[in-house]
Symmetry: D5
Subunit: 158 residues, 10 copies
């Protein structure tokens, strides 16, 4: 793992990554056992999501890490993730930059289309889900499909 990113993860999360690697598990494998989507599971490993007690119980079995250890750092009532901040902005990695570029090029068109369809408001990034699918293009090429879905929040007037 990239040492800059690694240094931004707490020790317990680094251990989770090591266990995942040594067991040769993908996020999809873990997600299936947890009953959660692979993207959410990856978010959990990167410290961007807060698991519930039940998730940690299962994770403890999947990764073979004592549950108490996981609970102390990820599950207490007094621990809540501080999100973002894993990498510099603008993003340097080409994969993540493409998301940034989409936001730059299509952000305003997407805003206008959503406003016309839904009214004055936003798509929530909190009450939100993200999924990844593999699809075939018309020329039989492999295509990545990302589905973002968030609650529409209309601006309040007061």
């Amino acid at each position: 793992m990239n040492p800059t990113i690694k240094s931004k993860l707490s020790p317990i999360l680094q251990k989770c990554f090591e266990a995942k690697a040594s067991k040769k598990l993908t996020f999809a494998d873990i997600g299936k056992q947890l009953g959660k989507d692979e993207v959410w599971v990856a978010s959990l490993f990167y410290g961007q999501a807060k698991p519930e007690e039940a998730d940690l119980k299962k994770l403890s079995v999947i990764l073979d890490i004592p549950q108490q250890y996981l609970t102390t750092d990820l599950g207490t009532q007094t621990f809540f993730p501080t999100r973002g901040g894993l990498f510099e902005l603008p993003p340097r990695d080409p994969f993540i930059y493409r998301l940034y570029e989409i936001m730059q090029v299509y952000g305003l068109p997407l805003k206008e289309v959503v406003n016309e369809k839904f009214g004055d408001g936003i798509m929530s990034a909190i009450d939100f889900t993200a999924n990844v699918e593999k699809v075939k293009g018309s020329d039989d090429s492999t295509r990545v499909k990302m589905i973002f879905e968030g609650k529409f929040l209309p601006y309040k007037k007061w």
Copy 2:
């Protein structure tokens, strides 16, 4: 329209927006007549896409703007859009910021999941489409669904 953004659009695009407003057309209306998706149409209006001759012919009718005028600025073989740059970064508008936040919080998890599913590479932002749908949540709330689809490009080794 926001004067800062307006100043970044060429005169012909400003005229397109005015015609759209006075005819009370949505991007969806125009898209239906053009045979193009509403998000792509909005991109065209914001100078982020290059139309073909046939698109301009139809647009000329839809917006009631002489075709030649449209062709000169948007359709010549010597004009190609310089994309991006419509707004400051990080984005200031809350709608667009949410896309930026998704990239910040879920960018690395999405990368990992795509890499695990597709191998070492990226989702193209060029051979790419974006769509917006209105869906209902399980609690009957209104939700925004954005579907991003791009060709998977594997890293070349040489």
Copy 3:
């Protein structure tokens, strides 16, 4: 008005400010007549809120500006404000900087207290209201009281 900010407002909003000044109206005066809070009214003048047809009807009378003129720019179904961007960040004006400083110094403590009280989530800045009150301190000094209230949005798990 500061010329830098003025240049970021559309002509119709500049006219609203001029009418307000020549009629010596405060935002509170206008708010009372509109049936809206003064902070929301000020947001409207700064292009940070979208009025409804009924608001524009009343505003037309209050400011003595033809309603159609207001509707064309602020009220159509194809116009939605692009928010933010009125000033540089970090803010240069001492008043606005104090809000920025509060966010810097107390942002993390406020996050922790809200998380402990409400769980993992955020205070919405969209389904949100802001009010200003004048209160007396224990030493009889004049104090500014700002009340921010927003819907609590819990993080979705999927």
Copy 4:
């Protein structure tokens, strides 16, 4: 705790956080025993406030940390906190970003309303308090209420 933030806290503050976690205390619990507001207590833990001798005495009991240890780092006459700097700006965490967004979108309207109500001056961020309350919205939803109160300081002329 997020390792980036942790690295910005002095060892004694890290110990305070650990004691709080192992005793499963909230900031509200500690505040009640200290006779202080929970937001101020959280500020103290994040090194953003300076306690008095009496506060440290009580804190020593609450957290079961020898008073002398607390006094040496947090209470001497030659130690004063250097505030701010706990996270990058613009803030990356969605919770804190919402405060930043409020400042961006409503900062200028709030300034104008305060100026109209109080004259030319600012709300102090030093002679200042912040409180958090849980309230119900008209649709029975849960809402976060933040109350910021600061002394009004008029600009001096000379």
Copy 5:
């Protein structure tokens, strides 16, 4: 006057500068007639201070500009200066940069000395005055003396 700075001043302030130049008045000259310090007068010309009705009356005579014109832009109850923002930061002009350098090099030592002398708090930049004097050095050289004085504001605990 530097065109970049000029573009940030409102037309009435540009006119004040022109009148001052054509009448060959220094800020000290104007200050004497206004009964105000020269630094405050210069602040007023740069849009960084708000004059009272009586100041405008006198200024109208001094600069030979109709009072009503001054009042409309600088004196209404609905106009309040938005301060700062006249130049880029870090400052590019060597004079102003030296103030920035003093803040960089001596800012922390000044903070520590003030904290030790006054306790935990700050020097207000609002309830604040600045004066400039010409003094002689021990080697008979000419020295600039700047005197900054602001109310001490102790941090509130709550």
Copy 6:
């Protein structure tokens, strides 16, 4: 001491701070014994000034640190401080920010007043002194007085 600042001080300076704290000395106390101003002493502790052999001799006694140790790091002919860089810019701490704000708001007025009084040139930040005094305001309030004095350097023509 704030761990971020601490990490920017050399080990010998960290030791000086510790000795000062354990002996409960203020910068004023040390200054009196050194025959130097307290602000200069604080600058020395923060690595912003270069002491002479004689200063180190006295400092060794005051802080009870072997002189040789001090000389090796702070006093050799091949060591000269690299100034600045102790904190991020714009400054995050409210105390230091106020100096930054004064520079922003009053920097240009101060420049103009100095130019009018002294001609085209600057106030040196090298041949420079800074002092802090406690004064009473007309309303009996406590006020901080900072006196900055620097040689006037006229621009050379060639």
Copy 7:
């Protein structure tokens, strides 16, 4: 090796560099044995490329590092490089800055020429190769020739 860059490489890559140095191998030497271009090999050493199992097998022999050690960190199905981020931007090193300068000065001309020759689209930086050659100038001087080649990706319309 520059300590800032070194700290951004994982321990296994640091070891690769050490082995390369102690064996006095150039990237060209290694490339010849690997059957890969020297630029791609250098990218691999800097963590900017992902090797295949077969590459690691050969690398293990060339550098005399146990294959398993290389595989664990560089070759697993759950490790994919996060690219970029090795140095600050704008680049500080004069060599790399020249590439940045070429992009600044000739970026727009190159875009226009490619658009005219290929239509609306980009040169991929993923399906991409880079080579370096040593050539002689007409005046017999030594010249560096860099050949960048990437797939042309036309913008999709939808």
Copy 8:
């Protein structure tokens, strides 16, 4: 043409672009007539190169613009282009960004390979040429080939 870029070109260059468009000439067409490479010609149009008298003579004929007009602005002995500055950095347009990304990802590997091949020094960006070719990939795909060639400059020792 993008209005932001247009505003950074002098009026004579804007006229050159208009003439080129109305005559439907590509940079390759003009280059052939000028006896110069198309990339250099595009650089000239974007104000990034200085033509000689002879170039202007031919350009005057090609574009049907009076030579004197061209000479005054582009050809005098007292005019020299100030290069760079046509767009924001990091670049926002996806085409130009790819060059930036190549520099980010492959900049250090390219440096190392050049150093190993040529010694300690750089590739000049001044004594430099850039060419674009269209080539076929092994899979018959269309590929962009960019050839950068610059004099090798070894670091001087003194």
Copy 9:
């Protein structure tokens, strides 16, 4: 002249440049007549230096511009140049960037050498001159020689 730079010069300075161009004068030509160095003259044209009455008298003759016009904008007792700010930083033009690069690469070595030779202090950039000479290298190549000379200012202790 580059339109971005032109927009930062006052109208009188733009006129000076036009007169210089139409008269085909170099800065050296003007300098000879003014009795000033060419670099200082160029600084004057770029608004970075303040001329005296006598300089303006001569300049009026050299450029054939009425003296009063020059005096009003460049010579009054109430006008002083605000220096810097003519271009973005880091500089985009390759010529100016090389000065920036020298400062980056050799700045610290130059500081150390000056400190060792002169003691703790700086080279003034105010009591400062800059000259340019054309010299021959040992290989008969043409070399640029820049000579910077400034007063040494030792740090004051107080």
Copy 10:
């Protein structure tokens, strides 16, 4: 030595600085023995220059450090310095800032003068030397003289 800079030097360079300090050698002393200029020697110590085998041999004797140790890190054919990056930009130290200020204020004038004297091109920062001299001013003051000399590189046309 400043800990921030120290952390950017490799261990062998830190050792060189220590040896230099304990032997009380200046860069001029070392330069004389090496037969190199003191500025180049200081560059070498700061990792900004690459020594040859012969330089290391002599340096080994001068500093009493085993030659092999020096050669391994500074002299191999596979080590080349990555220059720049020793300090933040804009520079924080007043000495280095003055060079930055000179570039800001006199950069464009110097460019114009060089262009007029040499034609369209730059002064190389690679085929470049820098020297420092101590001179007397006409008023007997001590002045720093810096002499920068670099090869003139004319822009290539192609």
